[in-house]
Symmetry: D2
């Protein structure tokens, strides 16, 4: 990319001290499906990770131009090493969830993404529904081991984020 | 609505004699999620019913203006009595599935929807991936029994479809 | 196998004229997960196909001894060509669903399975929740075409079912 | 319960320094469904939270005898406030996942569960596939606010765990 992405920060009310401060480099909208709900009447807790997965794949593709790799044919890929999610409010069928994503740490073979999930019935106001953090590892399925994130990918992430992510240390 | 909906007929190649002929009153686009796939590498068979469910809810809301009812608080609702699905080709993560839907039979308390599912990587060409049929029953959860589809809903469906659906006989 | 499988026929009340008559060669129990439910409070319609999928895979493995094949590495596999499902009653979290399965038609490269789904809170009585029919096709991913079901697999199915399935004609 | 539950500690190989040490009060086995997998060939990351959800519900029911509450009819219930999951190895269709669970912190209106997930093809050896932590909050839907975990529930948890969980402080 020739410059950093436009920044995203969806306003929500009410304010929540546990909201992630600051803005985000990436935004992905997701339609809540009826099948995403459970008998509590709202989106099932596990499905939030599916929303983050969609955002993560979209982020990586948008940042690096690398197409999604499927299967384990000896190629390098990304694997999810750790996920953390904090639930703030339920999301409902009929709403659109927006996942805002940014890279916060870039290490030798891994990086961390932060996600902020908001929901709304367009064109209404948004509510904060969850925040999440994912640690992704660049993995070589042939060697069955983590590998260094390439210099090109590092540069693409930092350009997309518009800042130095202190890359390098494991 | 003041008139019938615009008609939809997404062209596909190659021709398939088992494709549903004719056009459709309703169209709903769905993003294939990575979590929709299974270890065969493509969208899991059961997920096609989730796509049809999204199309069905969207059809009903668009046709009648009735908001989606959740739970069983004594209200009338629609229940799925029967579903049939014929698989034509796999759909993949990264594709958009379009579900085209039309009503074909309107009875006293039930009606039949036909769905045609096509997939593509926009802006590329579309493939036929499945056809499906759903029978929906108007149900009163208070009485725990099927009830007649109201005259207003019948009129809305026929107006949306732009033709007489020979309504009335059970 | 040296002889036909024990026959299964789970009694249900009340009687339903649309219940599949007769007994079944195969039985598979499935725990209903909370995530299987939706905002209607019971198991989502699409999930019934997931239950049938589990029963189908289990049936094929039990009948033929062939391990489940994953991916598309040029091997023969089974693909689902058509599924039909008739919903009779809701199933709930906390219940066990039993899927009874039998082969009813055996053709050159395809066969038909019938499924009967009942639910209960063990050790209580069972209710009929759905009946379903699946058409499976034996497929060669290398040739990208259907292939004949082998004589050994035909014999295994008929031995398991304990009757002649009039195999051969497509 | 009259005494603490039998302790569980499924042996795994190889040793992993990030494995949760010690034993667990509760164990829940889960069949991996084919629909749980994704195009990577193994269980989708989000589905691990579904496994933890099943374990969590089972733990609460086993410990307190309280039936699962569904819906939001003004009753007290448990809500998931936070989930963390560390992925160690893929799990596959055809395997059984065992989720071992224990309470580690008991506060005024919340408690923490640790989960250890292992997978195996019975009767083969087990592999560590993930560890997870969940924070559950006792919630009153009428008041729309957290409420104190009752003395009876506290006592039941501590009896089940067979140790003092330093309950009380928020």
């Amino acid at each position: 990319m020739s410059g950093p992405a436009p920044r995203s920060r969806i306003p929500v009310a009410p304010a929540d001290p546990r909201d992630l401060p600051g803005d985000f480099a990436h935004r992905r909208e997701i339609d809540v499906r009826f099948a995403d709900t459970d008998a509590m009447g709202h989106v099932n807790n596990a499905v939030y990770l599916t929303y983050c997965e969609a955002a993560r794949i979209s982020y990586w593709t948008d940042v690096t131009g690398e197409p999604v790799r499927l299967g384990t044919e000896g190629a390098e890929s990304l694997i999810l090493a750790e996920a953390r999610i904090t639930y703030r409010a339920p999301a409902f069928h009929g709403e659109t969830v927006t996942v805002e994503t940014r890279s916060t740490r870039l290490r030798r073979s891994s990086f961390t993404l932060e996600h902020r999930l908001t929901a709304r019935v367009a064109p209404g106001p948004s509510r904060l529904v969850a925040t999440s953090e994912s640690i992704l590892v660049r993995y070589d399925y042939t060697a069955d081991a983590p590998v260094a994130i390439s210099a090109a990918h590092r540069a693409a992430i930092e350009a997309f984020e518009g800042r130095d992510l202190g890359a390098g240390a494991e």
